[in-house]
Amino acid sequence: MSEDKQPVSRRQFLNYTLTGVGGFMAAGIMISPLRMAIDPVLQQGEGESDFTNVQLAEEDITNVPQRVDWEIEQVDGWYESTVSQTAWVYKDDNGDIVALSPICTHLGCVVSWEGSEDHPERFYCPCHDGLYYKDGVNVEGTPPTAPLPVYEHKIENGMLFLGNSQSREEA
């Protein structure tokens, strides 16, 4: 046993060991706060899962608003229920898809496209004669004070998917 066969001295060995163990301990302490800090990045986009296939092919959407009905599961605390949803869907002059909520912004009745013969080319609310233009903006002088809410939408495999409706401010 000669001196040159021991390249690692006792002192060096202890140094390496302590650094290694200390490193592991530091990493153990750091990992939770780090995971928390970058958590939003790791979340799978939650909004995405809210989209529902409403069984309407993109090619069937015309420039005349048509009514689509679908159902979503709603969880309210421990109470689960199916809620029916409705939208008026059409393509605007630029060919972009528009999906409007039919809930009147006055008191919540269900409006329909050309629902009154006296008002062609308008969304009509049967309760208090509220009117909206084709883009969902309320006609001034009728009870509603805000435009119809718009649904988020996307096309996947040629089918229309609708998400949450978003209310709009008065135009």
Partner: protein, 154 residues
């Protein structure tokens, strides 16, 4: 609007817009085993119908709580009780009172009702698929909505 806290909050503020009330008339019994399922099913269907109808016209219509009575009860006597309901309701500015029922017994005493009776024959049956029942109810709602709107215009 329904008889729930949230809707009634809105009702108090928007009274002048809500001039129509719908009162469901629902029979109830537990004494006749052979009719139990059928009767309960009819009552379920009518409740779904009322909910959907209310949803269409929510801004102008108040859906009253169900008026329950015994299937075997005498209609004349029940009529008295209905009158007291209507009396109380009339303290608010309601111009149109509708009764919705699938009990044909009310049809015979319709004249004494202080309001319009909408009698829905029981069209949906237990053997139907859920989706079929839905479409039956949806078309009934559409027609009754039209009927109520014709009262508003008139």
């Amino acid at each position: 609007m329904k008889w729930i806290k949230q809707d009634l909050q809105q009702y108090v503020q928007a009274k002048e817009y809500v001039d129509t009330i719908i009162i469901p008339l629902l029979p109830f019994q537990l004494s006749n085993d052979s009719n139990l399922e059928k009767d309960a099913f009819q009552s379920e269907i009518l409740s779904v119908f009322n909910r959907e109808l209310e949803k269409e016209l929510t801004g102008r219509v108040l859906l009253a709580p169900n008026f329950h009575y015994l299937t075997s009860a005498d209609k004349e006597a029940e009529m008295e009780r209905v009158h007291t309901w209507v009396e109380d309701i009339q303290t608010q500015p309601f111009h149109h009172v509708f009764f919705v029922t699938s009990d044909s017994g009310w049809k015979k005493v319709e004249q004494s009702l202080q309001g319009s009776l909408i009698w829905l024959p029981a069209t949906a049956t237990e053997s139907m698929k859920a989706s079929d029942i839905q479409s039956v109810i949806r078309s009934q709602v559409k027609e009754v909505t039209e009927l109520i709107r014709s009262y508003w215009k008139g």
